[in-house]
């Protein structure tokens, strides 16, 4: 089964991401690749545009947007079940908790309708 794991930041500390965290994220990515389960991933830059339908009205808004809550990366995992995908998301979030004080965010795990 294939799962999309998104990472959304909800609170940004003043400090930049510690080098230690970046190294740990790389290491986790390596482990997931060597487990044969991480099949796609990318970081996202700041949102560039938004197209919205509300009450039958279409509104197009150009970026940049000043949002505290922002989707910042996604990864696609191919694993046997949802619990496994959640476990990888858990490891990813644990690194943030342990290595970047003040940072808050949420990871969502969605099954993709393929395979």
């Amino acid at each position: 089964m294939r799962y999309l794991i998104t990472l959304t930041r909800t609170a940004q500390p003043e400090t930049p991401p510690p080098a230690e965290l970046m190294a740990a994220i790389m290491q986790l990515g390596r482990e997931a690749t060597e487990s044969g389960v991480l099949v796609d991933q990318s970081g996202l830059s700041a949102m560039a545009g938004q197209v919205e339908v509300v009450g039958g009205k279409l509104t197009v808004t150009d970026g940049p947007f000043a949002e505290a809550k922002e989707l910042i990366s996604y990864a696609i995992y191919e694993v046997r079940d949802a619990a496994e995908a959640v476990e990888w998301a858990n490891r990813f979030m644990k690194l943030h908790r342990d290595m970047w004080p003040g940072w808050e965010g949420v990871s969502h795990v969605y099954p993709l309708m393929t395979f």
Partner: protein
């Protein structure tokens, strides 16, 4: 919605970590059977401890440490611990080789019978149970148990280490073959009613990714990964709504999995960048010709026929020739294909009869074509294939 079920979490951690735990303990003790039992013991302890104390911060480390301790307890009970320690003291300091890769090479050791290699690989690297392996291979559970038992017995005489350089090509060939056979077992079920068994394909694909990630400069490891990514991209397309097989020309290419194709093409490019392509790399290059064609009619059959010629050169086999006949038949016309088919020694092979049937039909020899499809239907053991050939024999 609710808090995560700790048992499901433990099972997920187990599936992620078990191969690494077994690999580490196997390298420490030199005993695959003991390593597997100790890892199992650690899993059972986790099932007791984690729901009570919470999942540890480093669950893989917890399982490994616990499994090591269990292995040492077991050796002590058998009274061989001191002897084992003396043995270990005499050995040179183990080189920091990747444990997981060592376990893969050990499970696929040529001293083990092929069925044993497949079962042991699925069990140790894939974390499948004996019952799951039996279901996947459509054999009784005790048969799989026997195969694993015999495999472990054969491995007692084998040192658990990466093969020395001079043995590496042959040992790697065995690893690649095991992964390929697992995939094939799922892809083209030789018996029974199920046309594909996707779980086996998925597990083989995952193992090929593991191997390619651990051996990133091996052309054939990358080639096998590329092949399996591209073949897997068509798994959904090759089965119709009633479970019937849909052959390549009739597949809806919009249902091919683009992510897997992209990954396959990128692994193939990495294999090509090593400067050589082996048999798996060439098969991947052939699969890529299909993947790159937007419609069946767009297929570059001349390139395909040339790649089959190369493949026939590095890995001669009647099956490769049969596939070359199909490509040549489409590149140069059915008569050219028939010329190859008629020289093939593949009596009793249903696919040969079906390919002949197709080439004859396209040369306008309808009666001979029907006879060939009837023969194909009689020969195949796959119920879905049989139905397909019978339709074409009418």
């Amino acid at each position: 919605m609710g808090p995560a079920d700790p048992i499901r979490t433990i099972e997920a951690v187990w599936r992620i970590e078990s191969a690494k735990v077994i690999a580490t303990v196997a390298r420490m003790t030199g005993d695959i059977g003991l390593a597997e039992e100790s890892a199992q013991d650690a899993f059972v302890l986790a099932l007791e401890a984690w729901p009570r104390d919470g999942v540890p911060d480093n669950p893989g480390g917890w399982l490994t440490t616990t499994a090591k301790r269990k292995a040492i307890d077991q050796l002590r009970r058998q009274g061989v611990y001191e002897e084992k320690l003396r043995e270990l003291a005499l050995l040179p300091e183990p080189s920091p080789e990747p444990e997981l890769l060592t376990l893969i090479f050990t499970a696929c050791h040529p001293d083990v019978a092929v069925e044993g290699r497949l079962a042991l690989t699925l069990r140790l690297l894939g974390g499948l149970t004996t019952a799951e392996i039996a279901r996947a291979f459509l054999v009784p559970e005790p048969t799989v148990g026997q195969r694993i038992y015999r495999a472990k017995t054969a491995l007692r005489k084998v040192p658990i280490e990466l093969p020395p350089a001079e043995e590496l090509p042959a040992r790697l060939a065995s690893v690649l073959e095991v992964i390929y056979l697992i995939f094939n077992e799922g892809y083209a079920a030789t018996a029974g009613d199920s046309w594909t068994r996707n779980d086996l394909c998925f597990e083989a694909l995952r193992l090929s990714r593991v191997l390619a990630a651990l051996m990133p400069s091996s052309s054939e490891a990358l080639g096998l990964q590329a092949l399996l990514e591209i073949q897997s991209s068509r798994l959904a397309a090759r089965v119709g709504p009633g479970g019937e097989p849909v052959l390549l020309p009739d597949q809806d290419r919009t249902t091919w999995d683009r992510l897997l194709i992209r990954r396959g093409l990128s692994a193939l490019a990495r294999a090509e960048s090593t400067g050589t392509l082996g048999p798996y790399g060439l098969q991947a290059a052939i699969a890529a010709v299909h993947a790159r064609a937007l419609t069946f009619a767009d297929t570059d059959w001349a390139r395909m026929a040339a790649l089959y010629q190369l493949l026939a050169h590095v890995a001669p086999s009647p099956i490769v020739e049969l596939n070359r006949a199909v490509a040549v038949g489409l590149a140069e016309g059915p008569e050219a294909g028939l010329k190859i088919v008629d020289n093939l020694k593949l009596e009793g092979n249903p696919h040969l009869a079906a390919v002949r049937g197709d080439l004859l039909e396209r040369s306008g020899r309808a009666e001979e074509a029907r006879a060939a499809f009837r023969q194909a239907a009689d020969l195949t053991r796959n119920a879905q294939e049989k139905a397909l050939y019978e339709r074409r024999a009418r």
